[in-house]
């Protein structure tokens, strides 16, 4: 797409950037046939420009393909009509369409992405392109207006789908009535699986945002659970389980494994202390800061371990009144 000078000057927020990128993606995803005008009015080369004027006025259109014996031979537009008016004056539009039409017709394939049409608009300065199917048969007309409308509709559909998901998720705690409702997420973590390390944390963070958590709460939980998930991957014999219990007023995160356990829990909590091997450190982990980072992100921290038996880490984040998953705070989820 062309670079827009105004866009370059403006500071773009992440949300706006997401939307612009989405438009660009859609330019490749949407097909011309999805946005083009199918129900088209056609004219013949022998029709008069007066008939074209009437057709444009009645159909409220600004252009039409010219067809002769089922073949596309030209395009006639409002601009051609204006030229005819300049030549003849009002009421004297007897000249045939053939005299004013553009016979160099640019066509696009109905199955091409709309970015192809956008490129042609930029190159040719034409206002409309004829759309043909694979058999070269005229099936529609596409204008810049069709593209804008198509993109806006697609974004609207995206937005509504996401909105609906968020809406449903963020009302979970109100829709289900019990004395104490909680949502529990569980993930099995494999040892040494560095390629997928952090996948559980990523899903947890997204779930929290969808439920309406503030970005700050989602980040604190994300960091804490990610460090804990990596600990399972780096240190355990058989991996372990990450379990997150979400309640309206608090989030409890727990990791449980069956070994090897920590010899000296107090020592393990000392900043800089680590039992990680050099190859783990080379990957950017095992600096002896993980548990400290978790502690900093949470309100309650409990680490229990028995050598040879396993380790259980349980942390809690308390939500302030304005952070809870309640109806009052749902405006945020819809932002």
């Amino acid at each position: 797409m062309e670079q827009d000078p105004i866009r370059q000057e403006r500071v773009i927020t992440d949300a706006a950037a997401g939307l612009i990128t989405r438009v660009e993606e859609l330019a490749y995803e949407l097909k011309i046939e999805e946005v083009m005008t199918r129900d088209i009015k056609v004219v013949t080369p022998a029709m008069t420009m007066q008939e074209v004027l009437n057709l444009f006025r009645e159909g409220r259109i600004s252009g039409a393909p010219v067809i002769l014996e089922e073949k596309l031979v030209g395009i006639i537009s409002l601009e051609d009509l204006i030229r005819a008016l300049q030549d003849y004056g009002r009421g004297e539009l007897h000249a045939p369409v053939a005299h004013y039409m553009t016979s160099k017709v640019i066509t696009v394939n109905a199955l091409d992405p709309i970015v192809e049409a956008l490129k042609l608009f930029a190159q040719t300065r034409f206002g409309r392109l004829a759309v043909t199917d694979n058999g070269n048969k005229l099936v529609g007309i596409i204008t810049k207006g069709d593209i804008t409308r198509g993109l806006l509709n697609a974004i609207q559909r995206d937005y509504q789908a996401e909105e609906l998901k968020r809406y449903r998720a963020s009302h979970l705690f109100e829709d289900i009535i019990s004395d104490r409702t909680s949502l529990i997420l569980r993930y099995q973590i494999k040892p040494r699986d560095f390629t997928h390390g952090g996948t559980a944390s990523s899903h947890i963070k997204r779930a929290l945002l969808r439920l309406g958590a503030t970005p700050q709460i989602a980040r604190r939980c994300g960091i804490a659970v990610y460090e804990a998930e990596m600990n399972l991957i780096i240190h355990t014999d058989h991996g372990g389980e990450v379990r997150v219990e979400i309640e309206p007023h608090q989030i409890v995160m727990e990791t449980v494994d069956d070994g090897p356990g920590i010899e000296d829990v107090e020592l393990a909590l000392k900043p800089g202390y680590s039992t990680a091997t050099p190859d783990i450190r080379e990957m950017g982990f095992g600096a002896g800061m993980g548990l400290k980072n978790i502690q900093r992100c949470v309100n309650e921290f409990l680490l229990e371990s028995l050598p040879g038996q396993g380790t259980r880490l349980q942390v809690k984040i308390h939500l302030q009144p304005e952070e809870t998953f309640s109806d009052n705070n749902h405006a945020r989820a819809a932002d």
């Binding site: 370059q8 773009i12 997401g18 612009i20 660009e24 390390g197 970005p215 990610y226 990957m283 400290k292």
Partner: protein
């Protein structure tokens, strides 16, 4: 500072597909350089640039958890496909420069990119 400015200041390039103009114009509000992921997580790097010499997928996960806006890889390292794939999926652009960590950070700081502060200092 926009990613476009970071590209020119550090003579860097994007990895993967040509990014959309919106990505090139993305703003970062600060910078933080580290080869230890727990160090990154200790600082407030939200909407910031994470500068590292590592290339494994965990740099993307770390950036995602910390809400970093982009990653700059120094010392001419090339990320493996799984790192680029993950970055594409979570929407975090990765750039690469031949410069050392010291030089890349120095040039960006000199050009006005502020440093990150520790999480506990930010509150």
């Amino acid at each position: 500072m926009r990613l476009q400015d970071i590209l020119s200041l550090t003579q860097a390039q994007f990895f993967g597909l040509d990014p959309a103009p919106a990505v090139v114009n993305r703003e970062v509000r600060l910078g933080f350089g580290a080869d230890l992921m727990s160090d990154v997580l200790r600082y407030d790097v939200a909407q910031g640039l994470m500068i590292t010499g590592l290339v494994n997928p965990q740099i993307v996960r770390t950036a995602e958890m910390a809400d970093a806006a982009a990653i700059l890889i120094v010392r001419g390292k090339i990320p493996p496909p799984e790192t680029n794939d993950l970055a594409g999926r979570v929407g975090i652009p990765i750039m690469g420069t031949e410069m050392s960590m010291f030089e890349a950070c120095g040039r960006l700081y000199q050009a006005g990119l502020p440093p990150a502060r520790r999480q506990d200092e930010v509150g």
